[in-house]
Amino acid sequence: MTAPFLDTSPPVSDEIRKTTCYMCACRCGIDVHLKDGKVAYIEGNRDHPVNKGVLCAKGSAGIMQVNAPSRLRAPLKRVGPRGSGQFEEISWDEALQTAVDWLAPLRATAPEKLAFFTGRDQSQSFTSLWAQSYGTPNYAAHGGFCSVNMAAAGIYSVGGSFWEFGQPDWDHTKFFMLFGVAEDHDSNPIKMGIGRLKERGARIVGVNPIRTGYNAVADDWVEITPGTDGLFILAMVHELLRAGQIDLEYLARFTNAPVLVNADPASAEFGLFLRNDAGKPLVIDSASGTPMAFDSPGILPDLTGTLTRDGITHRAVMHQIATRYLTKEYAPDTVADRVGISAERIRGMAAELARVAFDEAIEIPQPWTDFRGTHHASMTGRPVSFHAMRGISAHSNGFQTCRALHLLQMLLGAIERPGGMRFKPPYPKPFDAHPKPHCQVTPGKPLDGPHLGYVTGPADLALRPDGTPARIDKAFSWEAPMSAHGLMHMVISNAHAGDPYKIDTLMLYMANMAWNSSMNTRGVIEMLTDTDESGNYVIPRIIYSDAYSSEMVAYADLILPDTTYLERHDCISLLDRPICEADAAADAIRWPVIEPDRDVRGFQSVLVDLGARLGLPGFVTEDGGAKYTDYADYIVNHERRPGVGPLAGFRGEDGCGQGRGAPNPDQLNRYIENGSFWMAHVPAEAAYFKPWNTAYQDWAVKIGLYDKPLPYLFNLYSEPMRRFQAAAEGHGDRQPPEHLRERLKQAMDPLPIWYPPFEDGAVDTDAFPLHALTQRPMAMYHSWGSQNAWLRQIHGHNPLYLPKNIWDDHGFSEGDWAQLSSAHGAITVPVALNAALNPHTVWTWNAIGKRRGAWALDKDAPEATKGFLLNHLIHELLPPKGDGLRWANSDPITGQAAWFDLRVAIKKVPAPDAAQPQFDTLASPVGQGPQLLEQGKKS
């Protein structure tokens, strides 16, 4: 017999439209194949700087997201009690009028009574502008509960962070150490990078209590005990210093190690830098031995400099580094037990790091010139690199731990050098070049400036005249002084408690706060539905924009239904969270590759409309008319500074402007033609040493990243932190409340330290001996993956994974259930064995558990019957200390939610009918999905 005829060249699709993925925040380029005007297949865009053609599971499943039955269909007005899920569909006119009726009077009287918080959207430069024009200080995105420790520690220490803005030099690194990463925002780039390291045979070390995913392919696994990374890192610092294996030249030239610090405890300036009249920190020039401004041409600063001036001794930062970290406190033998890694292995790891950094140093024959005018014949590199994410940042000691990691990198001379960590534009950028937080409210007027920023000391805090927090989330208050991203996880809790004050309207966008993105989910649900004496909701009004029938929808009074990511314009801007790579500045757009088939509107366009209806400056023309027709119009025509707008590419009348140029009416088309992104390559001479590299600085100015060159020194020693510490010691006129003094004195140490996670001190660790963690599954995105028919077959429920010792001790076997309890609550869940796990740790996948009735899923969907959230065990506050105060379960410096501090106890229990706790079934505003899918069926 002969083989049947087979057409091996069938037509693939009618048309390809290139846009940007939004199945997660990684922002890969996609080729959307259309057949008969419908999405037929999605694959990666090969030309795209982020993913270069590859696509993750979520990205490939986009078609199931765009067709999901859970999509909201029209604006909704709540008709049942909050939390019932009972709604009535209304027109957009009615919806917008309702919003205006609520918001306009507030703006005229007390704009701070609107709290507007956004989730993982990528239009923060736009939403913040809206909030600023409205005049409320209560705006932030989700960074505070996500990874602000990482972002803030990076920016304060080295002017850029791992979080989205830094990446290892995948092409040259020989030793890559990954701390606390399961997936990261840079999902595909990290996987591609790991693949490249594997190709070259570079060593990958995974530091993680759990050995899955990236940590499973790592050559070496450091099964660290949660919350102790800071100790582990500082012990390696101790080893490097003890052995003198540090990059002295790098430290001298590019960090503040040689900067002179006031060393006189009696002085009011104790701990602050010695500066010249222009405010520049001073160093001792090693050639002349004289103090000079750090950036003086041609100097080589002296790391051991000491200077006595006016009777006060000043010593180089390096003195403090040496004295602090050489002490026994940080010796491997001291920390080993706590960290769960033997002293021998810690010493070995440090030795290997040093060996690769110094014995395998690399050199790229590329001359460059630094900011002091010193010419370098080549670019030398230490091929050791690090990357870290929430595993170290989502702890109450996370900020200092992230700082410790940057300290380690700096001592090795491994940032912005070949083989080390590289920044992606718009970074590097020194912390003091960022805006500072603003909170000055004037009814009927815009806020006095941007909400978020980087404080340099107590003077920059967002406090009201009486010293209490100006913001509802208490960001930039003494409770969280350096909270660069705000504290979204505290908004509902504080608003409910009226601490620091009550609000009227809560407006949320793209954040499932009634479920997986809140700590203490049940508590938050109760706060959202709680009523006062007169029967009114304690949080009177809630406006929410979601695209799908999420749990949060049920708790809002007015729903503004969004489009899906293939149905709208979006802008992934250099003003915000762009798609840059270390070698290129790049930004991107989304555009409606298909038209919505429902009565929904892109939320940004809705904000543009609301802005005009509310008459917000920046959204209305001089004659009071709408300034922009929609978000697309805004993207093209808004200018942040003259010539600089949301999109950097194809600017100017002729579309040739790169970074700078007048608005170009054809800009979006030019993006679409170019695959929906724009990219400008970093010149070869500017590729490394960016913070100090004249060529890079000039290039950055040219493309509009900043207006003048901004060379700076890395901060081993953080002067802003010292200012807060000094205030806690009693210096200065802005003083912290008494109850925070001691905590600030300790936490605000200007050099990295380690202290135990707060929960360890707040609960009985004998009663709750275990650590409980979550990890992101690579094939799921938070709550929004479960509505996806393909992805939910991969992760339809989540077991609690237990290490072998606990498994055996409690006599667990396959199919068993356990009760897991914390100081705050208990859950009952299915268990499974995971031998490649730290012996004191249990974990589960994040956000798989769903509430019955949400997401257009069957009420008996496994997500609801077996899936569960760990969030029920995590509280936004620490257990009461008996002082009547509300102590946030957050990092004391940034307010980062301490998700991973959780301590638990486990007990075997008989299997219940369903995972506990269960909640009432939500009514679905969108009905339920079909019984059968045959995607691609030929009709």
Partner: protein, 294 residues
Amino acid sequence: MHPAPSLIIFTTLSGLGFGLLFWLGLGYPDVSGWVAATFLGLGFVLAGIGLGAAALHLGNPQRAWRAFSQWRSSWLSREAVMSVAALSVMALYGAIWVFAGERLPILGAIGAALCAATVFATAMIYAQLKTVPRWNSWTTPALFLTIAAAGGAALASLVFLAAFLMLLGGILQGVAWVTGDNRAEKPHSTIESATGLGAIGKVRAFAAPHTGENYLLREMVHQIGRKHIKRLRVISMLLGYTLPAIVMATDPGHTEAAVALASHVVGVLAGRWLFFAQAEHVMGLYYGKGQSDQ
């Protein structure tokens, strides 16, 4: 393997039907006229129900005719061809027998051989599968053939022969269980060979590729408790072989014979259920379903 009722019924009833036709083809029992017609009818109906049940098992029964094409390599195709050939020959033989009152021994012998071949082909569909070690043995066709012959003999009122064949069937069933258990306990394939990871150490399935079910798990992974197995084996042995063999050996009357036959069928159904339910497919190794952890 999933003990699909259609397959259990198919193999049992068609075995019985072809078993009866086999003896009819060989000239037993010595009857004629409507009695012969009844015997033939019974054989055809049983074989027919069995084949019908098998067709129901198909995803696209309307294309079943295609199954006749691959007799050169496929036991399933051979079974299809053989069964149609057997039924055709037996139909011709039966027609001549019933209507002309003539039993053509050569035609009958050919028909009988084809009936035996059909049962053999059915058995070989299972026995050929290296992927199911429990089935992959000479005992599978031996047992299928013996059971078919025994049930057929009982139906054909060849009571002593039936008694002997039931005894033999019981022995073969015992041998099949014991050797099958052995193969299952010392499998050629292990999770280590399935994954190739044995060189590193002991392998354990950590997480399945999907949290729900899929075709493979539904079709090829079926777990039953050891206790359950023991009980069913005893039932199958007693009802399927011991009891009917004893009854048949006593030259029973019609009622007793009918009860014995019914007992045999129930016992065989139980045995067939076990045949499927207990059989582990090596594919299960990928899902961490060990060959020996029943």
